[in-house]
C-alpha cells in the first residue's frame, strides 16, 4: 500500500477531484491536443503567450487521476514562465517521473543542477527543489505503465507553445 500512497498522494487526489485552471482561458490563442491511443485519454491545452512569457494556460479533457493531476499541477507550475524555463522544467520533470534522475547530480537542460538529499520511504532521494509541487508526482517512477499519463499534458503544452496545433500522442 505504501507505494500506492506515494502515487496517490493527497495533493494528487485533490488536483484530480478539483483540477485547477480547467477550461479554456478566454484570451487563449494557441492550443494542442494530447491523445493516448492506448487508453483513449485526451487532454487539450490552451495557452496565450505575451512575448516569450506564458500569460495564460488552461486545459480540458478526461483522464485518470495521474493525468488530470499532472495537467492541473503543470498549469500552476508553468504560469508566467518563459519558453526556456518551461523547457527546462519539463526536462527535469521528465527525468523525475521516468526515474532517470537519481544520481547525486547530473546534467539537465545543459546545466548542472543543485540537488538536495531528502528522506522518503526509508531511502535517500535526491530532489530538485525547483520542481516545487510537481515533486508529488515522483511516485510515478515506480509505475512505468503510468509515466505516459504524467507526461501527455506536457507534450500537448509544448506543441501548443510551438504553434503546432496538431494532435500529439504518447506513441
Amino acid at each position: 500500500m505504501s507505494d500506492l500512497r506515494d502515487l496517490y498522494q493527497t495533493v494528487i487526489l485533490d488536483h484530480y477531484k478539483k483540477p485547477r485552471n480547467f477550461g479554456r482561458p478566454p484570451d487563449a490563442d494557441l492550443s494542442a491536443e494530447g491523445v493516448n491511443p492506448l487508453c483513449g485519454d485526451r487532454v487539450q491545452v490552451f495557452v496565450r503567450l505575451e512575448g516569450d512569457q506564458l500569460a495564460a494556460v488552461g486545459f480540458e479533457g478526461s483522464g485518470c487521476a495521474i493525468s488530470t493531476a499532472a495537467a492541473s499541477l503543470m498549469t500552476e507550475a508553468v504560469q508566467g514562465r518563459t519558453r526556456k524555463q518551461i523547457d527546462e522544467l519539463f526536462a527535469r520533470y521528465h527525468d523525475m517521473v521516468t526515474g532517470a534522475r537519481d544520481a547525486d547530480s547530473h546534467e539537465s537542460a545543459g546545466q548542472t543542477l543543485r540537488v538536495l538529499p531528502h528522506e522518503s520511504a526509508g531511502q535517500t532521494l535526491h530532489v530538485l527543489p525547483s520542481l516545487g509541487k510537481l515533486e508529488v508526482l515522483a511516485g510515478v517512477r515506480e509505475f512505468p505503465a503510468r509515466v505516459k499519463c504524467a507526461t501527455l499534458v506536457w507534450h500537448a503544452l509544448l506543441a501548443a507553445l510551438e504553434g503546432r496545433g496538431e494532435r500529439v500522442t504518447t506513441e
Binding site: M1, L4, Y8, G40, G63, C64, A145
Partner: protein
C-alpha cells in the same frame, strides 16, 4: 469427443471447484506472486494463459518434428506436414466444419477479418454495404472502413440498447438490397453480450446475404458448431483459447472461399508461376502465402485437445456461475456501474466506478496482484455509446475461482478507500 467426466456427469454440468483446482495445476504461470500477493489473472478476454500441455506440445514439436511444410520430400518435413495438417483437421472437428480445406490458418481473428475484407471485399462495388453492430471490436470495424475507402462501399451500423444487446428489428431493417455481408461479433469483448447469431444469420440469409462471425471471445467459452449456427465465415484466435499467439483460423464455406480471389501473394499459395501467368493453389493453400506459424498450429491443436477433454459445455456452465457470483459481489460496492447487462452474457464483467478512472483502479488492483484490463478494450464506439471514457474489465478463464473474485473485490475496496 466425449471425455470421461462427460460420461460420468453429463456434458453440461459445471466444473466442480475440485476440478478447477486440479486444472489450475496445469498452468505454471498462475503459481507465482505479484507485488507479494498471489497472482490473480482476470484478463482472459484479452489473452488467456497456457496449460502445460500446450507449452510442451510446442516445445516437443520444435525438439523433434520441425521443418517447413508443403515442401520437403524428406521424412522430417512430412512429420511437420502431418502435425500442421493434423491441427487443421483438429480445428475442423472443433468447429464441426464440413471439410478441413475450409480452415485457413491466419495470425488471428484480426487477420481473418482482414482476409475477408481484402478478398471477398475485392469483388464489391461502390454503394455495396457491409452491416456490423455498434458493439464490434476495432478489428471488425477498421478493415471495413479501409475497404470503404478503397472501393466506395458503405459501412452500416446496427444499434445496441442500454443493456448492450443488439436491437434485432433495427438490424433486420438495415439488411437491404445493397447489403453484401453481415459481420457480427459472437460474444462481445467489451460487454460480454452473447449475440443471437443464429437469428442474425437467418435474417441475413433470408435476404441472400452471407454472415461472418467474430468468434475470438466465443470459441474459448462455448461449443461452436459453424453448421448449426448457420454462418458463412467464422474467425478465431489461438491465444484466447489457451493456445499460442500469432495463430488463428478463418473458417469459410468452401463455395465462398473457392469463389474468392487470393489475398496475399507469395510462396505456398501458387500452383505454377511464370512471368506471363500465375495460377493459384487450391484451398486452403490459396490463402496461406508464405511459411505459416507451424508450431503455433501445433499449439492450437494441443489447446483444443485440452479444452475438449474438459468439455466446453462444462466450461460454459462453470463460467456462467462464476460471472453470476462476480456480478452479485460487485453490486455490494457503492458507486459501481456495470457496463453491459445483456440478457445473455459470457465471461466479461465490465464496469465503471464513480469518481475513479479505470486506469487508477487497474494500477491499484495490480498492486494487489490482480490483473484486469482498463481502457476502451479496442471498442471505442462502445465506450461512446455508454458515455464512459474507459471501463475496468475483469474477464474469466476456466482457471478462475470465487477466490479470484474475492481478491478483485478486496482490491476494489482498496481503490475506493484510496480515493475516498
Amino acid at each position: 469427443m466425449s471425455s470421461a467426466r462427460e460420461l460420468l456427469r453429463g456434458p453440461a454440468a459445471p466444473l466442480t471447484d475440485l476440478e478447477v483446482a486440479r486444472l489450475r495445476e496445469d498452468f505454471p504461470i498462475l503459481h507465482q506472486r505479484m507485488h507479494g500477493k498471489p497472482l490473480v489473472y482476470l484478463d482472459s478476454a484479452n489473452t488467456s494463459q497456457k496449460p502445460r500441455s500446450v507449452i510442451e506440445a510446442v516445445a516437443r514439436f520444435y525438439s523433434t518434428d520441425y521443418a517447413n511444410v508443403r515442401r520437403g520430400v524428406y521424412e522430417l518435413s512430412e512429420r511437420a506436414d502431418r502435425a500442421f495438417e493434423g491441427a487443421r483437421e483438429r480445428l475442423r472437428r472443433f468447429l464441426n466444419a464440413r471439410e478441413a480445406r475450409e480452415i485457413v490458418f491466419v495470425r488471428g481473428t484480426t487477420e481473418a477479418i482482414n482476409l475477408v475484407a481484402g478478398s471477398f471485399g475485392r469483388r464489391l462495388a461502390a454503394g455495396d454495404e457491409i452491416l456490423i453492430t455498434a458493439m464490434e471490436h476495432h478489428s471488425n470495424i477498421v478493415p471495413w472502413q479501409m475497404l470503404c475507402e478503397q472501393r466506395g462501399t458503405r459501412l452500416v451500423v446496427a444499434p445496441i440498447d442500454d443493456r448492450g444487446d443488439v436491437i434485432l428489428d433495427e438490424l433486420a431493417r438495415r439488411i437491404g438490397p445493397r447489403t453484401r455481408l453481415v459481420s457480427v461479433v459472437h460474444v462481445s469483448n467489451a460487454l460480454g453480450t452473447v449475440n443471437p447469431v443464429r437469428e442474425i444469420a437467418a435474417l441475413a440469409h433470408a435476404q441472400g446475404v452471407p454472415v461472418l462471425l467474430d468468434g475470438a471471445q466465443a470459441a474459448p467459452r462455448m461449443p461452436v458448431d459453424v453448421r448449426e449456427l448457420g454462418c458463412d465465415f467464422y474467425a478465431l484466435s489461438g491465444h484466447k483459447l489457451y493456445g499460442p499467439s500469432g495463430i488463428g483460423a478463418l473458417w469459410g464455406r468452401a463455395e465462398l472461399l473457392e469463389e474468392m480471389p487470393p489475398w496475399q501473394g507469395g510462396g505456398e499459395m501458387i500452383e505454377t508461376v511464370s512471368f506471363e501467368k500465375t495460377t493459384y493453389a487450391a484451398l486452403p493453400a490459396k490463402f496461406e502465402a508464405g511459411t505459416p506459424n507451424i508450431a503455433g498450429a501445433v499449439g492450437i491443436g494441443a489447446a483444443l485437445d485440452w479444452l475438449e477433454a474438459i468439455g466446453l459445455d462444462s466450461i460454459a456452465a462453470y463460467e456462467h456461475e462464476l460471472l453470476g457470483y462476480a456480478t452479485e459481489r460487485l453490486a455490494e460496492l457503492p458507486g459501481v456501474r456495470l457496463i453491459g447487462t445483456a440478457l445473455r452474457k459470457s465471461g466479461v464483467l465490465a464496469f465503471a466506478i464513480e469518481g475513479i478512472h479505470a486506469h487508477d483502479v487497474a494500477t491499484i488492483l495490480d498492486r494487489e496482484g490482480v490483473c484486469v484490463r482498463a481502457g476502451h478494450h479496442c471498442a471505442q464506439p462502445v465506450m461512446e455509446r455508454f458515455g464512459v471514457p474507459a471501463t475496468v474489465r475483469a474477464s474469466f478463464g476456466v482457471y478462475n475461482t470465487r477466490d479470484d473474485v474475492d481478491a478483485l473485490l478486496r482490491g476494489l475496496r482498496t481503490a475506493i478507500e484510496v480515493f475516498r
